[in-house]
Each structure stands twice: as C-alpha cells, then as structure tokens.
C-alpha cells in the first residue's frame, strides 16, 4: 500500500495546528495529499432537551446561535489549515489533485454528525491523523473506534512526527500486530532505525520473531531486536517506558479488534497508552 491520501480532522481549536503539522510531516516522504476535514452537526438538530417544547422564536434563536458557533469554528479551522500550509510551503488547493513531486492540501467543511462524517471520509483514505487530546476522552475514544472500524490505519500525533527517526514495533506475534506491521511498512522503510520490541512477563515465553524479521528484511528494512522481560510492571507501562527512554519517533502497534472487547478486557489500557504517550503511535485494527 502506498500513502497517497491522508485525512486530518480539524475542529477550530488550537490543537488543529499540531494535528496539521503532524499530517504534513507524515505526508512529506510520500508527497501525499492531505484532506483537512471540518465537520459540524446540523445547527437545527443541536437542541437542548428540556422536556418543554420551544416556541418558534426560541428555536430560531438557538439555531442562529449554533450556526454562529459552527461558522466561527470553521473559520478558525480554515485559518489554521491555511497557516500550516503557508509555513510549510504547501499548496492549499480547491480540489484534490495528484502531484507527484509535492504535498498538497484541501480543506473541506461538511455538515453532519461528526463521527459519521469521519467514518465516511476515512473509508477512502490511506491514513488518518488524530490529535490525542482532540475532544473529551470519550470523543477521542469514539474517533479511534471510527477509524479502526473503517480498517484504516491511524496515526495518533502525540509528539512531533519524524518519518526518518526511530521506529519501534510492539510485537507479540499476533494477527493484530502483523496487520500493524504490514500497514506501517511505508513508514518503516523510511525510518532511520527500526526495532522489534517484545515485552512479556518474566515467566512467559517470548514470541517468535524470525518471521517478522525475515519479512522486514525482504522489504529492505533491517530491524534490531529488543526483548524485555518484566515483573511487577504491566506490559503496556513497560513498553511505553522503554519507548520514551529510547526516544522513539514512532511506535507501531496492533489495535484491538472490537471496541467492546477492548473495554471489557483492557479497560482503560489503550486509552491510557494513547493519552500518556509523548511520541506518535501508529495503530491498526
């Protein structure tokens, strides 16, 4: 798979700039096209529920107020996109056009339920870039679910994106981890240093790594191997700690198949990992 299109949701908050800069950095090695998407709900459908019917005047005033809010947010988002493009020397176009030799960008505003709008846009893109603090924790988790359910890879921009830096692969031999590796291959091929990291409990067996090492070698990716046995700490904590200490620019990991399973088995683990991270994380279904 090649990375030709990157989707980055924007919402008119200060986080937009960080998300956009991350998308631009990710797009550069591939001269990809970036679509910045601003989605807002229908102003007429955002009514507070008070159990009392509104008079037409009150309804009208509420719709106007909502519309004004959304318009202001959209303008802020558009300004952020224009500024990010200007600073990076990227063309902000009116429509998506393939340009082989440079990164391009379009800004699109849609009206609709934001998670649905994100799902629809994500279904035909090669990568989605999300800011880890986008919205409330629930909104962030919902956004992740949307992206993973569309089977598209997700880059959580929890730190500066450096495609030529150090990439770590959280490997446990599972199907999920394998899918992350094959999806992340374009990034692994550009990374300056790649390391397969296996973390397991002291008494458990390390997963086999010959398969993944062979696979990477075939793609001209030469990966080092790090095996970490832990006792007393959780595996996710040990992994994150190691990644931070080794100054990783990217952590590639398999997500979880079904959000309900995730909630049941892992509680807040994925969310913890994603929100505490200080470096970008590449995640797949």
């Amino acid at each position: 798979m090649s990375i030709a299109k990157i989707l980055v949701p924007v919402d008119g908050t200060p986080r937009d700039r960080e998300a956009l800069d991350a998308a631009i950095a990710a797009a550069k090695p591939f001269c990809a096209h970036i679509e910045a998407l601003f989605a807002h709900p229908n102003p007429a459908e955002q009514m507070p529920v008070l159990g009392v019917p509104f008079t037409p005047d009150v309804m009208g005033a509420l719709v106007d107020a909502n519309t004004a809010l959304f318009t202001a947010a959209r303008e802020r988002a558009h300004a952020a996109v224009a500024e990010a493009c200007r600073v990076s020397g990227i063309a902000l176009l009116d429509k998506q056009v393939r340009q082989d030799s440079k990164v391009t960008c379009t800004f699109r505003a849609v009206m609709g339920d934001p998670p649905k709008a994100l799902a629809k846009a994500a279904s035909l893109t090669d990568l989605v870039v999300l800011h880890p603090c986008a919205g409330s924790p629930a909104a962030f988790e919902a956004a992740i679910d949307v992206v993973l359910e569309s089977h598209r890879p997700l880059l959580v921009a929890a730190g500066a994106v450096d495609p030529f830096g150090k990439a770590l692969i959280a490997w446990d031999g599972s199907m999920a981890a394998s899918r992350a590796v094959t999806a992340a291959l374009p990034f692994l091929q550009h990374a300056g240093w790649v390391e397969i990291v296996c973390v397991c409990h002291r008494d458990a067996e390390m997963p086999g790594t010959s398969e993944i090492a062979d696979y990477l070698k075939l793609q001209d990716v030469h990966a080092a191997l790090k095996e970490l046995k832990v006792s007393g700490t959780s595996i996710p904590d040990a992994l994150m700690d190691y990644a931070a200490r080794s100054r990783a620019s990217l952590l590639v990991m398999g997500g979880f198949g079904h959000s309900r399973v995730r909630e049941t088995l892992f509680g807040g683990v994925t969310n913890d990992i994603l929100r505490k991270a200080t470096f970008p994380i590449f995640l797949t279904h």
């Binding site: 090649s2 082989d100 035909l124 199907m175 094959t182 696979y215 070698k217 075939l218 001209d220 279904h285």
Partner: protein
C-alpha cells in the same frame, strides 16, 4: 509501495496449479515473494474416534497409510511448484531474500488447515485460496470463511482454471458501501499495477455513502485513471450480472468487498450450498 508477500496454500491436488499460477501472476509486477505452503493434517488424526478399542496394529496401519498419502501429496505439491515456477519465471529460494525477480519458498506444515491458515496469513498481503467445488467437504468452505473473516487479509478466490494473467484488467464491484470502500483500499497495490481498472456501479444500497466520483478521486490520487460502468438489475441476481459483465469485458480479476454484510457477496454466493456450487470463472479478490 507494492505487494510484498503472497500466501499460497497447497494440498497436493490439481488445484495447486491454479493457486500457484494466480499467486505468481500477482507477484510478478512487484517482485513479491510467494510463500508456498503445503498444509497437511497430522497423520495421527487419521485414527477414527470410536467407542470400540482399536487394535494397536490397526492404528499403526492407519497412521502408516496416512503417512504414505501425505508423502505422495507433498511430492505432487512440490512438483506443482517447480512446474509453475519454471513457467512463470519465478525463482525458488530457500531463505526469503529480495531479488530481481519474484521469488517463492516451499515449506510444509502439519495441522488443521483452519488453524494453519492464521499462521500463513499473518504477514501476507494477500492469501490465494484454491477454487472450490460443490462436492468439497464443509471444511474447505469453513476454512475459506475463516481466512476471510478472521485474518483481516484480502483473499483471492481462484477461478477453476489456470489463468494466463491476473490483475491486468480489473473490475471493482461498487455499491457505495463501507465494505466496497474497504475492498478498494485493500486492493490498491494491485490496482496500481493494473493496465485497466473499471468500477462497476451496482444499484446503490440505501446506505450508500461513498459516491463513485469519490472513489475515482481516491484512485486518481494513486495515479489510477479508473473507468466506470453501471449495471442495473431488476430480476437477475447482482452476482450473475457481475460475472456476465466480467466475461463481456474480459476482466482477469474481480474485486468485491465484504462477506455476510454485503448484498453483493450474498447474492453471488447466497447460502452455503449455492456458494459451494458457484464456479467463479475469474479470480475474485475479497476483503471482509
């Protein structure tokens, strides 16, 4: 970036020739490597489970007979690999290594196909599955459903004859749904290498959310100039219409999304019996 690895499960039957030809055809444009895997059940599983104790000599005979059968099948599969590799100009190597041409490796693994398929699909960009026949055991159908739904990898269901080429003239069934979009993105590496790509717009579902224009725009960003055509179905099943279109236009690969959640797949394959009875004339790439 193109296809890196293709999994080709073999069984020692004549279908191996089709599986290998399909895999090699898809491997060539990007110099991918084909992991040809002969999967056979454990000979000890040839022992029938019964309430009556079976004499040790009989058990031994059964195991020996299964082992002889296994050796013969392995030999046939290995021969099929050599023949196909020679025909397609594929180099057989013993250790995966990036080379100037597409390559293949041979290995044998023991176990139930269903269990083994996870292993072989793991790091594969796609899995080639042998053509199925009406009288195949249920296990084959289950294995197909398993690899399609549990591994998350695209599966190419082979046609019932050896193809001359695969992935050169491609038709993509498009109904605007999420599964069609998923199939398109999953097939992108193949589509990038194709000489011609055509989106076949099927009467859209009520929940169609991605237009054919958006699909063409996405493909254009990948350097693909896709054509589009429309099929209307009133009385005939969509599946039949698709195969008819494929025949008329000379597609050598059909791309479809979903299984169980897609009207397209349901109408092509219907229930289990219909599914087993269908003989795809061209290879079909499916993604769940």
């Amino acid at each position: 970036m193109a296809i890196a690895k293709i999994a080709a499960p073999l069984s020692g039957s004549r279908r191996d020739a089709v599986v290998l030809a399909t895999a090699f055809a898809l491997a060539k444009p990007s110099r991918a490597y084909v992991d040809a895997v002969f999967i056979h059940p454990d000979p000890r599983e040839a022992i029938p489970v019964s309430d009556l104790p079976i004499a040790p000599e009989i058990v031994q005979e059964l195991v020996d007979a299964a082992e002889i059968a296994r050796k013969a099948a392995a030999k046939a599969a290995r021969q099929a690999l050599s023949t196909a590799a020679a025909h397609w100009g594929i180099k057989i190597i013993s250790v995966p290594e990036r080379m100037e041409t597409a390559t293949a490796t041979w290995r044998e693994i023991t176990g139930h196909p269903e269990d083994m398929l996870n292993d072989i699909a793991k790091l594969a960009d796609l899995v080639v599955f042998p053509p199925m026949a009406a009288d195949d055991p249920d296990m084959m159908h289950r294995a197909f459903v398993h690899v399609l739904t549990r591994t998350g990898r695209p599966v190419v269901l082979c046609a019932d004859k050896v193809p001359a080429k695969v992935g050169s003239i491609v038709g993509v069934a498009w109904d605007g749904g999420a599964t069609a979009a998923h199939a398109l993105t999953a097939a992108i590496s193949i589509l990038e290498e194709a000489a011609s790509v055509e989106l076949i717009c099927v009467r859209p579902d009520s929940d169609a959310r991605v237009s054919i224009e958006e699909a063409k725009q996405y493909l254009a960003l990948h350097g693909i100039k896709a054509k589009d055509t429309r099929i209307e179905t009133k009385t005939r099943k969509i599946g039949n219409e698709l195969l008819e279109t494929a025949r008329a236009k000379g597609y050598d690969l059909l791309v479809m999304g979903g299984y169980g959640h897609s009207r397209l797949i349901e109408s092509v394959f219907g229930g289990t019996t219909e599914f087993l009875a269908s003989h795809p004339e061209i290879p079909i790439l499916m993604v769940h």
